[in-house]
Subunit: 114 residues, 2 copies
Amino acid sequence: MDVEHQRMYQYYSEVCKAMSNPQRLAIIDILRQGEVPVGNLAEQLGRSISNTSQHLAVLKSARLVKCRKEGTTCYYSVSTPAIFKAFDCMAQIIFDGMTDRAEHREYLKSQVLV
Amino acid sequence: MDVEHQRMYQYYSEVCKAMSNPQRLAIIDILRQGEVPVGNLAEQLGRSISNTSQHLAVLKSARLVKCRKEGTTCYYSVSTPAIFKAFDCMAQIIFDGMTDRAEHREYLKSQVLV
DNA sequence: CATATATTTGCGATAATTCTAAATTACATG
DNA sequence: CATGTAATTTAGAATTATCGCAAATATATG
């Protein structure tokens, strides 16, 4: 494994790490709605604005989200649709990893609510 | 955000966490070759068998890889091709996150070596 | 300036990560 | 059965990360 590759894996791992938190995945999922202000996100998450902002900062430093300022409001959105694709891959991986029909049923039930 | 969703995000985050390590991403990348014995993986990674085995254990507990035993040898492979899809999403996300042409060129150069 | 919206900072507590080295298990074969 | 090969597991140690809260600090607007 050469140095170029190592650096590449390093980058990838940072993206994964940014995504490896339920709260932040929830944020990404909410951002399917499009641009959403921090306060709105916080409300949907049931968390404080401060806390939400901190998670957004993590996502931003991994370049997963971007924000647009309008007045005092910050509208957040994902930086690329590929993030939703990655999200959906996670769903696929978990679905494929399930062993029996009961698990699948249970899982699909939760998906309907999205 | 209801309980069902929280659990779902929890699952997803565990998959992400398993992938959020350069060493393990390297393993996944090597597994594009198909079934690979632990010793062989260790050699390609330039790490000890013990260390490699531990990373494999992490991947296995997240159900990202499976192994088939044949004699004293354990052949590892990914549990679903969706894992490669997720990997490739990471590549896409990073590519999309790059701002200038120089970065893109640099990145593509490293990809040629895969 | 006061208000609304976000961000940042400074903790503190807890828990996770990663590696090495050594012990252990599992299996095949002479 | 003894030995060697392949892999896993355990233990430990050092380092580092995570997460949330509360308070302080921006930033823009009327």
